[in-house]
C-alpha cells in the first residue's frame, strides 16, 4: 500500500482545481441562475406545477446533475489526459503505486470537486426557490455515487482520448443530449406515449429520476430501477478501468 502516493496525486489534482477555484465556483452559480431565470421564472410562471411540485423546485435535481455530469467528466478526463499529453505520466507509471490506487486518487479528486459544485448549485437554487429534501441522507449518498460514477466515466474517456477533440466529443455529443433529453427539465409523463417509451432507453432518465426521488419522494421510475441503473453504470465503468490498467491500454506500450 502507498497511501502517501495516493494523497500526493489527490493533492496535486486538488491544487490544479484550486488554481481555477473562482471560475470553478462562479461558473456553476451563474449557469444555475440563468437556468432559473429562463426556466424557473419565464417558463415556470406558466407551468406552475409538475406532479404537485412547483416547477422551480422540480428542475433543481436535474440542474444539479446536468452540471455535475459535465464537471465530473471534464475534470476526470482532463486529469488523466494531461499527464498523458504532457508526458508526465511516466512518473505515475514508474511509481510504486497500484492501478487501483492511481484511479482512487484521480477519481477521488475529481469527484470531490464535483460534489462541491453540486452543493454550490443546491445552495444557489435554494436562493431562488425553497426546495424540500425528502431524504437528505439518500440525497447525499446519491450525489456522491453519481459523482464517483461519472468521474470514473470521465477517467475512461481521458485514457481513451488521443486528442483534445476526442476529449470533448463524448461529453458534448452523448452525455449532454442524453441529460437534456433525460428529463432534467420535465417529467417524462409529459411526453406522448411513444416518446415516453423511447426515453426509457435513455440511462440518464433513471439517474435523474432517482435523484429527484430523494428530493420529492417520487420520480418517473421506481427508486429501485434508478439504483439498479446507477449500479450497472458504475459496474461497467469499474470493469473497463480494471481492464485498461491490466492491459495498459493507451497508457503503456
Amino acid at each position: 500500500m502507498n497511501p502517501r502516493g495516493v494523497w500526493a496525486i489527490y493533492r496535486f489534482e486538488m491544487a490544479r482545481f484550486g488554481r481555477t477555484f473562482w471560475t470553478s465556483l462562479v461558473v456553476p452559480v451563474i449557469t444555475t441562475s440563468l437556468y432559473f431565470i429562463v426556466f424557473g421564472s419565464a417558463i415556470g410562471s406558466r407551468m406552475t406545477e409538475v406532479g404537485g411540485v412547483p416547477y422551480g423546485a422540480f428542475i433543481v435535481p436535474g440542474l444539479i446533475l446536468l452540471s455535475m455530469f459535465t464537471e465530473s467528466i471534464g475534470n476526470a478526463s482532463f486529469g488523466i489526459y494531461m499527464p498523458k499529453w504532457a508526458g508526465t505520466i511516466y512518473e505515475i507509471l514508474s511509481a510504486p503505486i497500484s492501478p487501483l490506487e492511481t484511479v482512487t486518487a484521480y477519481v477521488g479528486a475529481a469527484a470531490s470537486k464535483s460534489i462541491i459544485v453540486g452543493c454550490v448549485i443546491l445552495a444557489t437554487a435554494q436562493i431562488f426557490t425553497a426546495t424540500p429534501i425528502a431524504h437528505p441522507l439518500a440525497m447525499a449518498g446519491f450525489l456522491v455515487l453519481m459523482a464517483v460514477t461519472f468521474c470514473l466515466f470521465g477517467f475512461l474517456i481521458g485514457v481513451w482520448a488521443q486528442s483534445f477533440e476526442q476529449l470533448q466529443v463524448i461529453p458534448l455529443l452523448v452525455v449532454y443530449p442524453l441529460t437534456f433529453l433525460g428529463g432534467a427539465f420535465y417529467s417524462i409523463d409529459m411526453l406522448p406515449p411513444f416518446w415516453r417509451t423511447v426515453t426509457l432507453f435513455n440511462p440518464v432518465v433513471y439517474l435523474i429520476s432517482g435523484f429527484r426521488w430523494t428530493f420529492f419522494g417520487e420520480g418517473d421510475v421506481s427508486i429501485g430501477a434508478s439504483l439498479g441503473a446507477l449500479a450497472l453504470f458504475l459496474g461497467i465503468c469499474l470493469a473497463i478501468v480494471f481492464w485498461m490498467f491490466r492491459t495498459g491500454y493507451r497508457l503503456k506500450s
Binding site: E91, L93, K252
Partner: protein, 322 residues
C-alpha cells in the same frame, strides 16, 4: 525478512524482450547484470532500444518476455519494493508547466511513498542550484533548469539505482560538467547509475563499464578502458595530386583503398598499435613519387563502430547458426 545479500546486483536482467504492437522488435532477449555501486553506460545509436530497455525495467513499457530484478526484487511481481529503489530521469523534458519547482519535487517524493522531508528537499535543490528558483513555475525555466528539475524529481525519494536516459542530450557545457560531477557524487554515496548516451566521450568519462546496444541487441559489454582500445581506430585520407587507376604494388603491405575515382587514398589504422604505419606509408609514397595535395585523419565515429560491431555480430550469428 531475509538479510539483504551484499552481492545482490543492483540490476539483473534476463531475457528481457519487447515487441511493440506495431510488430517492431525493440529488444531481443537482453541479459545484463549491473553490480551495486557501478556506473554503467548503455551506448547506442538512436532507435537501438536503450530507452525501451530502461522503460521496461521502470514499468513504463510492459515487456513481452523475460525478467528484471532490482536489488533482487522482481520489477513486475514485487513492483512496489523494486520501484521505491529506482529513480528515473527520462530523455524528454516532461514537466508540469504550472507547478512550482518545490511543489513538483515534493510531489515526487511522496508519490514514491516517502514522508515529507523539507531539509532533504532543500539540500537536493541547493545541490542542483535550484533553490533560488524553488517558487518559480516550471514553465518559466530554461531547458537546462528543467532538466535539473527532472533530476531533482528522480532523486527526491533517495533511490539506490538511478536511470539517466540521455542526460546530456541538448545540454550546455556547464550543465554537462555539473551532471558528471553529480553522477560521481552519487556514486560516492553508493548509488548505482545506468545511463544511456550516444556520445562515446561521455561513456569514456563516466562509466566503469559500457554496454553497446544496436537494433535491440546488447552486442557487447566491456570495461570502458578495454572498449576504448578496441574502438580507437582512425582513417587517414590523402587527396592525391594525380589520380591512380589502381593501387601500386609497392604499397601492398598497407591496408589501403582507393576512393573518389582514384583521387583519394584511404588508410585505416589502429591508434593504439605500436606502429600505426602512417610515417612508413608516407615515406613509401614519396619513394614511389606519388604526391598528395592534402590529407586529413578522422576518428572512426560511433556510427562506424556500430556498423562494424553489428556486422561482426551478424556474421557470428550466421556462423553459429549454420
Amino acid at each position: 525478512m531475509t538479510q539483504p545479500d551484499p552481492d545482490t546486483p543492483a540490476l539483473a536482467i534476463t531475457g528481457l524482450a519487447k515487441t511493440y504492437a506495431s510488430g517492431v522488435v525493440a529488444l531481443h532477449a537482453v541479459d545484463l547484470v549491473v553490480a551495486k555501486g557501478e556506473i554503467f553506460a548503455l551506448l547506442g545509436p538512436n532507435g537501438a532500444g536503450k530507452t525501451t530497455l530502461i522503460n521496461a525495467v521502470c514499468g513504463i513499457v510492459t515487456p513481452s518476455g523475460g525478467h528484471a530484478a532490482v536489488f533482487g526484487e522482481d520489477t513486475q511481481r514485487d513492483y512496489r519494493s523494486a520501484r521505491r529503489r529506482i529513480g528515473l530521469v527520462p530523455q524528454e523534458l516532461h514537466t508540469d508547466a504550472f507547478e512550482t519547482v518545490l511543489a513538483t519535487v515534493e510531489f515526487s517524493r511522496t508519490l514514491f511513498g516517502k514522508p515529507r522531508d523539507p531539509a532533504f528537499v532543500e539540500k537536493l535543490l541547493r545541490d542542483l542550484t535550484l533553490w533560488d528558483k524553488r517558487d518559480a513555475k516550471i514553465m518559466e525555466l530554461s531547458g537546462g533548469m528543467k532538466r535539473r528539475v527532472m533530476i531533482a524529481k528522480a532523486l527526491s525519494h533517495e533511490p539506490d539505482l538511478l536511470f539517466l536516459d540521455e542526460p546530456t542530450a541538448g545540454v550546455d557545457v556547464d550543465l554537462r560538467r555539473d551532471m558528471w560531477d553529480m553522477v560521481r557524487g552519487l556514486r560516492e554515496r553508493g548509488v548505482t547509475i545506468v545511463l544511456t548516451t550516444h556520445y562515446i566521450e561521455e561513456a569514456e568519462e563516466m562509466a566503469d563499464r559500457v554496454g553497446v546496444i544496436a537494433k535491440g541487441r546488447l552486442i557487447l559489454v566491456e570495461e570502458t578502458a578495454t572498449l576504448m582500445k578496441k574502438m580507437g581506430r582512425k582513417t587517414l585520407t590523402l587527396n592525391l595530386s594525380e589520380p591512380l587507376a589502381r593501387l601500386p604494388e609497392g604499397l601492398g603491405q598497407w591496408d589501403l583503398a582507393l576512393a573518389a575515382d582514384g583521387h583519394e587514398l584511404v588508410y585505416e589504422f589502429d591508434t593504439q598499435a605500436e606502429a600505426t604505419g602512417v610515417p612508413s606509408l608516407l615515406r613509401a609514397m614519396s619513394d614511389l613519387d606519388i604526391g598528395f595535395k592534402d590529407l586529413n585523419t578522422r576518428q572512426s565515429s560511433l556510427e562506424d563502430i556500430f556498423v562494424g560491431l553489428v556486422h561482426d555480430n551478424n556474421v557470428q550469428t550466421a556462423e553459429t547458426g549454420s
